[in-house]
Amino acid sequence: MSALRATALRIAPRPTTTRRPNYVAGLFALIWLAIVLAPVYVLVKGSLQNQEEYTTSGPLSLPSHLTTENYHLVFQDGFLKFFLNTAIITVSVVAIVVLLVPPVAFAIVRNRSRTVTIVFRILLLGLAVPIQAVIVPIFYLILKAGFYDTLPAVILPTAAFSIPLSTIVLTGSMRDITSDMYEAMALDGASSWRTFRNLVLPLSRGGLATVIIFSALQAWNGFLFPLILTQSSGVRVFTLGLFDFNTANSVDAPAICAAVVLSIIPILLVYLFARRALIRGLMGVGGK
């Protein structure tokens, strides 16, 4: 695609000059933007209000008095521990994915044997397996394996379900490595390991970045696996902490808002720094 667009760009010096901004779509985007922003505003404002004001004044009203108390409370209430657990899970999932996926992607791209084709088909099929369909047996297996209510109980299935997508994204970007380069390596007499390390890995860094962001987001925001496979507060993740916070008898809405805001911050930072990789990944290009 990039090659083609480059050609298009060469023909037409700058799209802005040939394309008028699309006002209709722009207006539409703006309206929807307001709807998107409203809850975000409520969230941030709510997190800075005390509970009485939050309950009695409407959610959209302007705050009259701001406080950071809710953030203190969130930290007191064990959320720090929940964030830590979530971070451990996220890092572990990413580590497993980064360890397992590049080799399989390399094999899929460069090994044309029947076995590898089957491997690839199983992974493709895996894309259509919804987590809900296997949650009961995973629960059963995790129980039997004695992993119930531990962090690995969440890490292992989360990582496993990140594999198909990650593999496909990565094969996409490995495929963009031209065969001339492989041939050059082969002429040097490079082993598959050397080819992998010196050619494939460096050239698929972009795809790897996308894979890391995908699996990190997946692990960070995961809900069903922790809901089913953990129980005690020592291994609770923040999504579950939020859910529990919400179902406890006396609800502290501003504190929930503060917890939600805190939960977005790390991901927002990652997003701001890696926006391009993420968007490219979602566009299905695979990154470069």
């Binding site: 040939t18 296997v134 949650i135 009961v136 031209t178 995961g222 977005i264 290009v285």
Partner: protein
């Protein structure tokens, strides 16, 4: 997007195939073993276990014991289960109908090169970063009939359209809330897909159209939309499979209520398994769900005729 990428890629691949034959440096299948074993352990083996569990009775305390097809006949005479298909279909349908325009238009717009685009897109994509749990909790609090938006915006919510602000009290508005929250949560994601698709439309098409005197609307309907056909199918398939497995938002927002009118299939499975402890019957639902999502994917692939579409694109 995919189409043009494809053309480029095809050219590259053709070249690589003709010049192939190099054996050195190719990895053996062993390279794929760790990942596939790991994946099979948590995704494929469980599919087998769930098929077996569906033929047993298990309450989570005693061990599962064989009951044959009893769970299957019980589930297929369970009105709530059968109704859950209708609800799921409704949620999926509404999701597609509402999210498509809401992601198509902003996506096309964001594909342009306006100066403020980057900032607006960054805000626009915030829901994408939030966990479904967080999103649902925020909306639950916002939609409290006595202390949330319905009271503050009484003029809007007071009418019959919103059931007087009691959004979780009528099946129509409860489904409406789930659809809306889904829309809020997922539109940005699909916008990204459309943005990518729209960017890949060759500029020359618009230039040619402009020379022919086609206005913006004609350009949109005669160039943008047809060119986005692949993208649209991609996006719709995603909405389809995602909608079939809607769970978090139902758990937090409606819990299948009022009555059983938002009891979608995947949520009903959760209730059966982890609230009623009828794991056998829950496994029946899980098997049906797995078969169903796979079938739907296959049917969509077939009906949409991706391969045919690709060849029509070749001419461009």
């Amino acid at each position: 997007m995919a189409t043009t990428t494809l053309m480029v890629r095809r050219r590259l691949l053709t070249r690589s195939r003709s010049s192939g034959g190099v054996k050195i440096g190719r990895p053996s299948f062993l390279w794929s073993l760790p990942a596939i074993t790991f994946f099979a352990l948590f995704a494929i083996v469980p599919l087998g276990v769930v098929a077996w569990l569906s033929l047993t009775s298990w309450d989570g305390i005693a061990s599962p014991h064989w009951v044959g097809t009893a769970n299957w006949s019980a589930m297929f005479s369970d009105p709530v289960f059968l109704k859950s298909f209708r609800i799921t279909a409704l949620l999926v349908g509404l999701g597609i109908v509402t999210q498509t325009p809401l992601s198509l238009l902003p996506g096309v717009w964001a594909a342009g090169y306006q100066r403020n685009r980057a900032i607006l897109s960054a805000i626009y994509f915030i829901p994408l970063l939030m966990s479904a749990a967080a999103i649902s909790i925020v909306w639950l609090s916002l939609l409290n009939p006595y202390f949330g938006l319905p009271r503050e915006l009484h003029g809007v919510f007071g009418g019959g359209l919103f059931n007087g602000g009691f959004l979780f009290s009528s099946p129509a508005t409860a489904i409406g809330v789930l659809t809306f929250v889904g829309m809020w949560q997922w539109s940005p994601f699909h916008t990204l897909i459309y943005q990518g698709g729209a960017r890949a439309i060759p500029e020359v098409l618009y230039q040619a159209a402009a020379i022919d005197g086609a206005g913006r609307f004609r350009q949109f309907f005669h160039i943008t939309l047809p060119q986005l056909r692949n993208t649209m199918i991609t996006s719709i398939v995603l909405m389809l499979v995602g909608g079939l497995t809607t769970f978090d938002s139902i758990l937090i927002l409606t819990q299948g209520q009022p009555g059983t009118s938002t009891e979608a299939t995947s949520y009903y499975m959760y209730v059966k398994a982890f609230q009623s402890f009828q794991f056998g019957e829950a496994s029946v639902i899980a098997v049906v769900l797995a078969v169903f999502t796979t079938l739907v994917s296959l049917i969509v692939v077939r009906l949409s005729g991706w391969d045919k579409m690709r060849s029509t694109q070749e001419g461009i």
